[in-house]
Symmetry: C2
Subunit: 277 residues, 2 copies
């Protein structure tokens, strides 16, 4: 099953980091004026701002706050750093609640000086230490499997199967999974794991962008939808088949696109969303 054509922007959400050169207020106004339905706020965009005031502005602009990016980074060889990470995740949950974001995306972390197995255990412990607070505040913690090329330093959770295992271990409405096509598109088990994720009611967020060929930088060379080789429409079809009815979130880190006039880049995003997603 391939996804149906996208005809409006009501299910489109754009991450503040996608148009990083814009301030949160600039981005929110542009998104709103174009009829974009949602916005995901990166924590750096909140720096120096009153969160309640920001939430009010976004409501006024009729933008749904889809999620807060990001928590996680639980593993460390240093126990005090692990404790500090939990404190920071509790703070992220508070910020999300204040902002009206129903979800915090978890980039789970990895500590290069220890085994992936140990990092995975630290992640489990870290989430366990936060889940009660997440429930209290009504915020979902969404485990995002990261591409295996980030296993060295950004996440020891590298497949959707692992994210599903971890979410199912918690078996809580406050722990889910965030799926980004960039991280999982290569996985031969993807369709099956998406269905599993949906059946267990863990499919909490869906991010889109593209994989450029060649990719020149491991972090900041993501493509706009249509610029690369990811079967985005097909994957969106599987995600919808799995029962997901939420936003399609455009999350692009791109030194190239950040250098563009953001108004022009924004028009490209709208066009790519309607034709290549």
């Amino acid at each position: 099953m391939s996804a149906s054509q996208i005809n409006d922007l009501s299910k489109l959400c754009i991450h503040t980091i996608t148009c990083k050169p814009w301030t949160l207020e600039q981005a929110a106004k542009k998104f709103s004026a174009a009829g974009v339905g949602g916005i995901t706020i990166w924590r750096d965009a909140l720096t120096g701002r009153n969160i309640r005031e920001t939430a009010k502005l976004l409501r006024t602009l009729n933008l749904t706050v889809v999620s807060l990016c990001r928590g996680g980074f639980f593993p460390s060889l240093d126990p005090s750093a692990r404790k500090a990470a939990i404190t920071d995740n509790i703070k992220a949950i508070d910020e999300a609640a204040e902002l009206g974001a129903p979800l915090v995306v978890l980039v789970c972390g990895a500590a290069p000086g220890q085994s992936l197995a140990d990092s995975r255990e630290h992640i489990r412990e870290g989430i366990a230490a936060c889940v009660h607070h997440a429930e209290k505040k009504g915020v979902v913690l969404a485990i995002e499997p990261l591409h295996p090329m980030y296993a060295g330093d950004r996440s020891a959770i590298n497949t959707l199967a692992q994210a599903n295992d971890l979410a199912e271990y918690f078996n809580s409405p406050w722990v889910g999974v965030a799926v980004d096509v960039y991280h999982v598109w290569w996985d031969p088990d993807l369709q099956h794991q998406l269905i599993r994720c949906g059946e267990k009611r863990n499919l909490s967020a869906f991010h889109i962008c593209d994989w450029s060929v060649p990719t020149l930088d491991l972090l900041n060379d993501r493509g706009l939808m249509g610029e690369g080789c990811i079967n985005i429409k097909e994957i969106r079809g599987w995600v919808e088949e799995a029962g997901f009815t939420g936003f399609n979130e455009v999350e692009i880190f791109s030194t190239k696109h950040w250098k563009e006039d953001q108004a022009i880049f924004f028009d490209k995003i709208i066009n790519a969303y309607q034709h290549c997603s």
Copy 2:
């Protein structure tokens, strides 16, 4: 089970590309003088050389030719390119036989303009078209699963499970699997898939290097063993547990190390092999 300490160089094999600034003859003499047991020849190193004479030189130097790198690159949207790839793989098998290499490593390929499923089917067809010739020449075709970051353009076979599936589909002593820690270290299913690979008698080659943090280039920033975060000793333990008794092949593409005095880099390889592998 962790691997036992390495006490000599008899099981060490170095790929010609690891010391790319050296000619094949320079590399072979240095390897031999140090007591290195094996050499894997990259086809570019054979350019302009008589293969029989080269084979004779390597025998004289008491070097075992472990494999020829590389065949593969089967998928293409253009049927004539797929045919040309098969012709080239037949040629690689001939070269390996002439060189006395028992194995050709397959970097299977991916064509960005088509689905991974289609690329995977082209790979299956390509190997099928070569396996009879491989048998005739006594050369093993070793499917190398490549890191998922190469799914866009270098290989649609991205996990050891996929390589195992494909090798088992052929169920032939002339189709095996080449395992490189760089490509598979992140895989939560690695130990299990290595045992499976050994049980099915498909574990044909074992490559080592390291994953640097940060990695600055997707292709040419591999680390020397000990420079990165891969649990090489543990993986070697699993490989040996799986029944593998062949060479440990050092395969490093590194702009940084290629810039070094290769004699100094070679000493570092020997040291890293004995202490970090």
